[in-house]
Symmetry: C2
């Protein structure tokens, strides 16, 4: 019997995933909201954590860190080829399992069993996306400036918050726009957000 | 026995919702990708459609229309209080069921049975959001201009596409920014997208 924890930010889909995994007789399933604290290791003793890739977002604050600290490489991350940023973060973070959100129930169940044994499970469509996927082209600083702009902060505010001059902030934004092949600031934000790089 | 169709854009969560609804003995469940064509009425004869609110998005192209045409008011829309635009569109479109994505499995199953009988099911947290929720403050024109800007189109391109002068496009953008209480163009796009108004 493999003990699995499901983490997804929507309660209804969390219940649905528990039902789906629980249909396999070899799995015992619990679930958790990503907004809740990760429970004490000894209480649940789950061996594998199935987590929505969007719950691991944000390279700055590293919100995926508690999962990696608690389950190590015994993570099955759900994501899509359209989010290369999330995919790469999960892969480089060392998660053994990567499953396409468009996969069948059987593939998810197979992934959980493989990861429980310490084996890698990389879903075919995601492998292709990983191989094709370009590296994140922005430096941490450029991404940081763009992320603040994406939250609606004007240049002066970004400058004050990061202790930079306005000219430097404008330079970072211009470089970021050029590097991601965007037409303007709004376009750069759209490209970076869609790819899951923020 | 109530025949239900589940529409969600992620295959894995579609399977999971089918499993969840199928655990109720009174429901027979099928599922469909929103990218697929709505099947011929006579083939499946489903009475209720459970659809992810995000599949109904976009006021311009009215992608929710095929669902309303096919199931009338026998729709259960899954959404959250954080997306007042989606919520309002579903409500005003006449969907009988509105269920919070954070609800329990039991509430979704109860909603399906109620809607099958032609009764309304409005989840508590969503009722509050509907009552509190402001009307969409933008005109169709302002929203159209902002939507194009959100896709990264520069002012000149928006002007050409909508057969407007650049000055008029800038005026629409300025009005939109003011109306949604934004600090700048990027902020207005963020506010409108988060609310589910585009």
């Amino acid at each position: 019997m493999v003990r699995v924890l499901v983490v997804h930010d929507e309660g209804l889909l969390r219940s649905a995933l528990v039902k789906l995994l629980g249909s396999d007789e070899g799995l015992e399933v619990m679930s958790l909201s990503p907004r809740a604290d990760v429970p004490d290791h000894d209480t649940w003793q789950t061996e594998v954590c199935v987590v929505d890739g969007d719950c691991l977002e944000g390279p700055e604050a590293a919100p995926g860190a508690p999962f990696r600290a608690r389950w190590g490489d015994r993570l099955v991350v759900l994501t899509t080829p359209e989010r290369p940023g999330v995919l790469r973060r999960a892969f480089e973070g060392g998660a053994l399992g990567l499953v396409d959100k468009d996969a069948s129930a059987e593939r998810l169940i197979a992934a959980v069993h493989r990861v429980a044994k310490g084996e890698r499970y990389l879903d075919e469509p995601l492998t292709v996306a990983l191989l094709e996927g370009a590296e994140m082209p922005l430096t941490t600083r450029e991404l940081g400036v763009l992320s603040l702009a994406a939250q609606g902060s004007p240049v002066a505010e970004i400058a004050a918050r990061l202790h930079l001059s306005r000219g430097t902030v404008r330079n970072y934004l211009a470089t970021a726009i050029r590097k991601v092949g965007a037409r303007n600031r709004v376009d750069a934000i759209r490209i970076v957000q869609n790819a899951g790089w923020t």
